[in-house]
């Protein structure tokens, strides 16, 4: 892998790297690969350990496990390997990585419900402590959909409308920070909208729907804007294909999130489960209809 990187940067966007592409620099890029591989491997092992520890309880959903591991595989495809290497010079490949690491993998990992699994696997006492932390105001603030969407969309605007996009390809450190942000912001936003884990701070469905609509609008506006104004150093044709990939690829994931969000509403308003909200029944006309 390390040799590939030197080679890629020679004809990539980072001209400087060709000059400074010596030992320390190459080492930093290898370090990024190693850290990513370790993080993904740890996530895979931890989930398996969680399932094993809680195996005496009711069986853990196979669908969740599949979602988790598929998410890890797709994240790995975006961070390591040939696509990742290509993304360091081409905009379309970069956008494919962005979709994988920032949208598809986070969605699948959220569907894996890692917090619920952790709570099952931990001894009661420690599970309670974790619950206390999750109930706290810090988690509440950090996982609010408005903040999560702002960090997510704000980071994207910063990345593509400033010099950050070019700089990201010249510094392994910046590259790592940007990817970590894309992934974390994607995960927190998805979890705040359609999370499967127990969430004591879950926002009302109307708030989540509003945030989602604004986020989709921001994503598609940025994609169309990039179509005409690719970041510095990006070839116009490459920029156009990449922008359309962002637009339509983003749509696919967004529509899935819309369906999951409204499916949650559909289940929670099931008249056979709760006779509360809609429509107010003839005699017990207490509940206001939503």
């Amino acid at each position: 892998m390390g040799h590939d990187h030197d080679h890629d940067h020679d004809h990539g966007t980072g001209h400087r790297l060709a000059e400074a592409g010596t030992g320390a620099d190459a080492l930093a890029w290898v370090l990024f690969d190693v850290l990513a591989a370790v993080a993904l491997g740890a996530a895979a092992v931890a989930y398996a350990a969680g399932m094993w520890r809680a195996s005496h309880r009711s069986p853990w959903s196979a669908r969740r496990a599949v979602a988790w591991y598929l998410g890890l595989v797709l994240a790995a495809a975006g961070l390591l390997g040939p696509l990742a290497a290509e993304a360091r010079s081409g905009f379309t490949a970069h956008m494919a990585v962005h979709l994988l690491v920032g949208m598809v993998a986070p969605l699948l990992l959220v569907l894996g419900a890692p917090v619920a699994l952790t709570l099952r696997a931990l001894p009661v006492g420690r599970a309670r402590s974790l619950t206390r932390v999750l109930r706290g105001q810090v988690v509440r603030a950090v996982t609010h959909p408005v903040l999560a969407a702002t960090l997510n969309a704000g980071g994207m605007w910063l990345l593509y409308t400033t010099d950050l996009y070019r700089l990201m390809h010249t510094s392994a450190l910046l590259h790592g920070v940007v990817h970590a942000h894309i992934f974390l912001a994607g995960y927190v936003l998805t979890a705040s909208l359609v999370g499967r884990d127990p969430d004591p701070h879950r926002s009302p469905v109307a708030v989540r729907a509003g945030v989602l609509i604004v986020f989709i609008a921001a994503h598609s506006v940025l994609a169309k804007w990039l179509y005409a104004h690719p970041p510095a150093g990006v070839d116009l044709a490459d920029g156009r294909v990449g922008a359309q990939l962002m637009y339509y690829g983003g749509d696919v994931v967004d529509v899935i999130i819309i369906v999951l969000l409204l499916a949650g509403w559909y289940t929670s308003t099931d008249p056979r489960r709760r006779r509360a909200s809609y429509p107010p029944s003839g005699q017990v006309s207490k509940a206001a209809s939503g």
Binding site: A209, L212, I213, V214, F215, I216, A217, A218, H219, S220, V221, K224, W225, Y227, A228, Q244, Y247, D251, D254, V255, I258, V259, L262, A263, W265, Y266, T269, D270, P271, Y278, P279, P280, S281, G282, S285, K286, S289
Partner: protein, 165 residues
């Protein structure tokens, strides 16, 4: 509007059949708007015919933002309309003719909005490029008005006969 229950403000006793009917119509209109926005525009005019451009280089920022919201809301209401339909279905029998009427009205409503607001006022994009637009605009807006009127007429004819006891 002249609903006596609203005036009372206290415990309302709405007829569930009324609520179901309203939800059927809302579902149809939302779904109609949604498929007009996401399916007709995207698949027929943009991808199949390649008339609509992905992005007009002359688009202003306001228009681009408006377009983004149109797009986001388009997908949302498509899915929302279907979930509302499923909700009515699990509570009672769906009056499919009434739902279809609402869908037709919704398509007409959205195409009219798109033709007037998007194409003419905001000038986000045109129907086709490099041709005299007038016949296209007349056809677009005319067909939208026609659909809307047909939809409204169908809605009128499918009104539930006995709504209140």
């Amino acid at each position: 509007m002249s609903d006596p229950h609203v005036r009372a403000g206290a415990q309302t006793e709405r007829d569930p059949a009324d609520a179901h009917d309203r939800r059927t119509v809302v579902s149809g209109v939302l779904f109609g708007c949604g498929i007009a926005a996401s399916i007709i525009d995207l698949f027929i005019f943009h991808l199949a015919l390649q008339w609509h451009h992905f992005y007009d280089l002359s688009t202003t920022r306001v228009a681009l933002t408006a377009d983004g919201f149109f797009h986001a809301i388009g997908w949302f209401v498509t899915v929302w309309g279907l979930f509302l339909l499923a909700d009515v279905r699990r509570r009672t029998d769906v009056d499919w003719r009434r739902w279809a009427a609402a869908v037709v009205a919704g398509i007409g409503l959205f195409q009219l909005l798109d033709g007037v607001l998007d194409h003419k006022v905001l000038r986000i994009h045109q129907i086709r490029y490099g041709v005299d637009l007038l016949p296209y605009d007349v056809t677009w807006i005319g067909s939208a008005v026609l659909l809307l009127l047909v939809g409204l007429m169908m809605l009128r004819r499918t009104r539930p006969r006995v709504t209140r006891r």
